[in-house]
Amino acid sequence: MTHFLQRLGHTTLSSFAKLGRGSFFLIQILSACLSVFLRPKLLIKQLYSVGVLSFLIITISGLFVGMVLGLQGFYILSDFGAEETLGIMVAASLVRELGPVVSALLFAGRAGSALTAEIGLMKATEQLSGMEMMAIDPIKRIIAPRFLAGFISMPLLSALFSSIGVLGGHMIGVGVLGVDDGSYWAQMQAGLDFQDDIINGIIKSIVFGFAISWISLFEGYDTIPTSEGVSRATTRTVVNSAFTILGLDFILTALMFGDI
């Protein structure tokens, strides 16, 4: 019994301590962000590894998600003779939910895990301490550019995902299943609002980008500097990011679309 209580207390205390370290880390990153603009080369390098390298997986997934939505939507809607509304079904589900959430999950798996592993290995091989010895602030030099790159890439990737998905739905719905081209676009434009749907979707993806970058960099920075520790930290990044994305998505959806 005492043993159980002791473990409970230990878990609680250590998770609070981690939360505190995480928040402090975030403040450090945010205050270092401005200095990144003095060295845009660092940011471009990270935009390449975080954004450009995620480009392919995001576009291909977007295309297939859109195509599947077009196919499934068509089967169900044609039961009610409402195939013409396929456009709004595909676009609304992509722009509001699937675009931001699925691209964030993919981004966490593709870029977040890589960030954690990279930072974790830097810590394990004492590169970060080495930098400090040379009076280079690793937060400014290593962490902040990666954070900004994730923060910038995420909305762009999510917009790409949604757009390609809509085109994929168009390809299947209009090209293969014979939905009218005009009504596909017209229903979509009539049903979706720029402010309520598009902007809210973009806000979601910005929030997710922030959360993923924070979690993956913190897990890397906070890792136990052994190979096992790095592997655990990488796993935690993917798992925690997924939980955070889905939880935040629920909260944001309830706040944004609650009154409909």
């Binding site: 080369k41 935009l47 676009a91 890439s153 762009l156 990737l157 917009a159 790409l160 749907d197 598009i198």
Partner: protein, 153 residues
Amino acid sequence: MQNTKTQDTLVGLFVACGIAALFFMAMQISNLSAFSNNKTYTITANFENSGGLKVKSPVSVAGVRIGRVSNISINKDSYESVVEMLIEAQYNLPDDTSASIFTAGLLGEQYISLEPGGSEDFMQQGGMIDITQSAIVLEEVIGQFLFDKAAEE
């Protein structure tokens, strides 16, 4: 440093693609192109029953969309539904225009159809439509029909 140059180009391409996608979403997927910076004016109409009319439902004349519903509230004295509409400023409506609530298709969304009258004067900002026809509630129509059938026999 050939490598850096390629990297720069690819990053530029990526950002350009992302911005193009955002632009595509704004213009092609949503209705931003339809009602962006156009000036509008507000008119109101009282309906006995506004049925399934919603904020943002279309307002049309002769089937052409000229505005949208901006607010629906209830008049506390007469218990009528007060519908505010935003009409694009380029369309002038005679002040004896009448308004009806129709349904697009059998199960489609409801919209306001305006029928311009013959008056020489135009509606101003805050104008009021006097002649209105309420939404047709399907249950009432069916009920009426059954009642008439029963009375005939």
